[in-house]
Amino acid sequence: MSANIAIDVDRLKKQFRVQKNREGLAGAMKDLFKREYTDVTAVKEISFQIPQGEICGYIGENGAGKSTTIKMLTGILVPTSGGLRVNGHIPHKEREAFVKGIGVVFGQRSQLWWDIGVIESFQLLRKVYKVPEAEYRKRLTELVERLKLADLLHRPVRKLSLGQRMRCELVAALLHNPSILFLDEPTIGLDILVKTEIREFLKEMNQEHGTTILLTTHDLQDIEALCSRVIMLDDGRIIYDGNLTDLKTKWSKGREIQFQFGTQVKLPQLEQLTAGLEGVQWKLVNEVTAVLWLPMAVNVSDAMARVVVVGDIRDIKIFETNTDEIVREIYQTEKTPT
């Protein structure tokens, strides 16, 4: 294994035993004496490697196995089988030594102490991670300044807004200067301002400290803003691993051109213009505006050439399919067995 691999996952698998509840009173009585279980495989032999300093997005639908993977990578869950090395440690075996080198933020769970002031939580974490006082001061000042937390430090966590809490969670996860940061849906439920702020902050952390970041998210803008690489998971398997641009070209089926004409246009008239171009579709937005959908196979210039002969065109806009749509598309196609 090369030294600069931060996360090395090899045929990782996690199976859960889920208790089956039998129906009705008779079933409940049977359950009392003999339980039946079904095995559910949440993660099915996935493999990937993440080099140091990379920001990698880990996406997939609810229940695809993202959180289970993160929990194995952070040593919370013990894998059923497969190899796993994070920072050179086997997470669940050398837990205490291992967790000192990582930071974790769960968007849906707070790791701060609910009833005490934020600063008290930080100080407790300083002791938990045995961070030297001077280093702690320096780091705290830097983080507090960057995330604008100075006013919040003495408030109890339960009185913070979600956005404020999330920024504090980030500080809590980074106080001991971890080399890998795991983020499980860090921007869930946040407004756009806080989201942007957090993205900016993560990018800076990555550039200045070389922190490796693995994040799961449902917000693809997180991915677009941050990630050089995307791993897409579906039903416990990796269905895509690569960069975002490739994902778009590979899965995107087409794009749209919007024309605004000077005079009123009718659908048959427009369809006639592009007759012969395979798979194109027109849609009228209003009397003078129409949208032309082009599959990847058709050149934008070919289509334009056909339409501009109309002459009176006020405006043209080209829309690329956005990542959200692509991903939705992928999820839907993966659902139907091919």
Partner: protein, 264 residues
């Protein structure tokens, strides 16, 4: 040992201070309990001098001391652990470089110390003024008792942890927690001293850890068990402490591999 553990005690102490209403209502509840049992035993004794090896005075002292001790060793760690397992927040505890059970123990200690200082000590003064309680004058008895009280706390906390950790294996262990609470109160001797149980039950009790929580230390304190036997009582407490650690560690190990974090 991680210096953070001391801080965890401190923080729990501060948190207890923050919830003052609980504190005041606790005082009232304990006062009522001690009063009720005092009058109950008065009625039971009637004209009799000695019952179950206790004189009425020893009994009054036993009740007051046992309830006050309960204030120190009692905690809700069973429920706290079960809740954290059920709602999945136990996962957060695994990403920190400390031992979860140790943290819980320290939280319990913080709570216990709070009650010892702000509840037991003033409470005992009040109780001594109202009821005919005779406290021992021998400092060795006091010394032994304080050490034993700490071990009462340890044993009770261990039983709580074991009960709480069962949440890893059963979906809902509220029933188990309730049952345990009744068992501990009844069999530890807070409600009735062991010597009042029928012979066979008393025999069984000797083989269970509960008596080491209240009955044995309180008997030493009230002078029913001579101080010369205090060493043996203490030895029994230590033995239970060690014995109980075994299943806790076993359950903890097993739980690690089958930890199912609920809610995704």
């Amino acid at each position: 040992m991680n210096p953070a553990y001391v801080d965890i005690i401190r923080i729990r102490f501060l948190m207890m201070l923050a919830y003052r209403v609980n504190y005041y209502s606790g005082i009232i509840i304990y006062a009522i309990n001690i009063g009720a049992y005092y009058f109950l035993w008065q009625a039971i004794y009637g004209n009799q001098e000695v019952l179950g090896g206790f004189t009425i005075n020893q009994m009054t002292t036993y009740i007051a001391v046992s309830w006050m001790a309960r204030a120190f060793y009692f905690n809700n760690l069973d429920r706290e652990i079960a809740d954290e397992i059920r709602d999945g927040s136990v996962a957060i505890q695994f990403i920190r470089p400390y031992n979860y059970l140790m943290v819980k123990l320290m939280q319990g200690l913080g709570e216990g110390l709070f009650r010892l200082l702000l509840f037991m000590v003033p409470g005992m003064v009040v109780v001594c003024l109202i009821f005919p309680v005779t406290l021992p004058t021998d400092p060795t008895v006091w010394g032994w008792y304080l050490v034993m009280l700490f071990f009462s706390f340890l044993i009770n906390t261990q039983i709580n942890m074991l009960t709480g950790l069962f949440a890893f294996f059963v979906e809902n262990n509220t029933g188990l927690i309730r049952m345990k609470r009744v068992l501990v109160d009844l069999f530890s001797g807070v409600i009735i001293p062991m010597s009042f149980f029928p012979g066979w039950l008393e025999g069984i009790m000797k083989w269970l850890p509960f008596q080491a929580i209240t009955y044995l230390p309180s008997s030493v304190f009230t002078g029913r068990t001579p101080i010369s036997e205090a060493g043996a009582v203490f030895g029994l407490q230590v033995l239970w402490c060690v014995l109980l650690a075994v299943p806790i560690l076993a359950v903890w190990r097993a739980a690690r591999t089958r930890l199912f974090v609920q809610g995704g």
